[in-house]
Symmetry: C2
DNA sequence: TTGTAATAGTTACTTTTGCAACCAACAAGG
DNA sequence: CCTTGTTGGTTGCAAAAGTAACTATTACAA
């Protein structure tokens, strides 16, 4: 017999969060992979440009908390497949402005619809109140541990 | 102007879940990596054996929803580093029973403590009620979409 | 028996990632 | 101008993950 109550895996938030994140992402992942051959970093870049308009790689990285190498590769592949255009900033020639092409916009709109209805499906498992609580909790947990 | 309200990334549960999962896992990940050179699949196997005792790879896979190749590799590395032992079932020689060695138990206890205090740190960002709500919501979302 | 299918687990191959080093353009101080 | 540091972005290499195909063993039925 244990003298001490054990810490359970089912209580460990990072574990639970990962499980929920993984399984809840599966179906959507399949969609952007099958329809457009995209990876997670790629649809994220696509969505950022679709939602907020033209911006630089650094800015996407800051918003999405993605490392710049991931972005760099995602941008490369998206440009290669003509979902986005890259144009140098004339004042600071290190910088590139990224924007969706028509093809990119179409993909964005399509995936956006899929995401929306898929999200509705997920939310249907919870009450409105639960959804609100969940969002606010996730927001708090998404902040880095120190600071 | 858009005639239609846009679906936002901040409303998309799989996105939020992934963000929260990733950032909330970082610090713990660093611990098991730095102290024991483990990967995620490895500490998960370790914890399953530590919590529930001897079991087979298939059973761990079922409980943790991990693919068998992931488990196979995790088991291989854990055994190589003498955290676990593998013993063939005498009645069904396809099956292997996995169990922690003393070294494995020690690592488990150590990491278990870290996980517990780290979890407390995370939970401190939320009220008790929020934690309960969160757990129940995550549980509902961790179920596969169809069925 | 023998043939077919299921199950436990491993391996081979390809695609992704993670990290560090790197290049190019700018910035600021002397 | 020159040096030093910073920033935007890329690349090379090693580690890790995903997939499917594979071996070995058992189960079951003709």
């Amino acid at each position: 017999m244990n003298s001490k109550k054990h810490f359970k895996l089912q209580e460990f938030l990072p574990y639970l969060l990962n499980q929920a994140a993984e399984t809840s992402s599966l179906a959507f992942q399949k969609t952007y992979k099958d329809r457009y051959g995209m990876l997670r970093a790629e649809w994220r870049v696509l969505f950022h440009l679709g939602l907020y308009g033209e911006m630089t790689a650094v800015e996407i990285g800051r918003r999405a908390q993605m490392h710049k190498t991931k972005i760099s590769r995602a941008v490369h592949k998206l440009a290669e497949r003509r979902f986005i255009t890259r144009s140098r900033d004339l004042k600071d020639r290190r910088v590139e402005h990224l924007a969706l092409t028509d093809r990119g916009k179409e993909a964005y709109r399509d995936l956006s619809k899929v995401a929306e209805s898929y999200n509705a499906e997920l939310e249907a498992r919870l009450s409105d109140e639960e959804v609100d609580h969940l969002r606010s909790a996730l927001e708090k947990l998404a902040k880095p541990v120190h600071g």
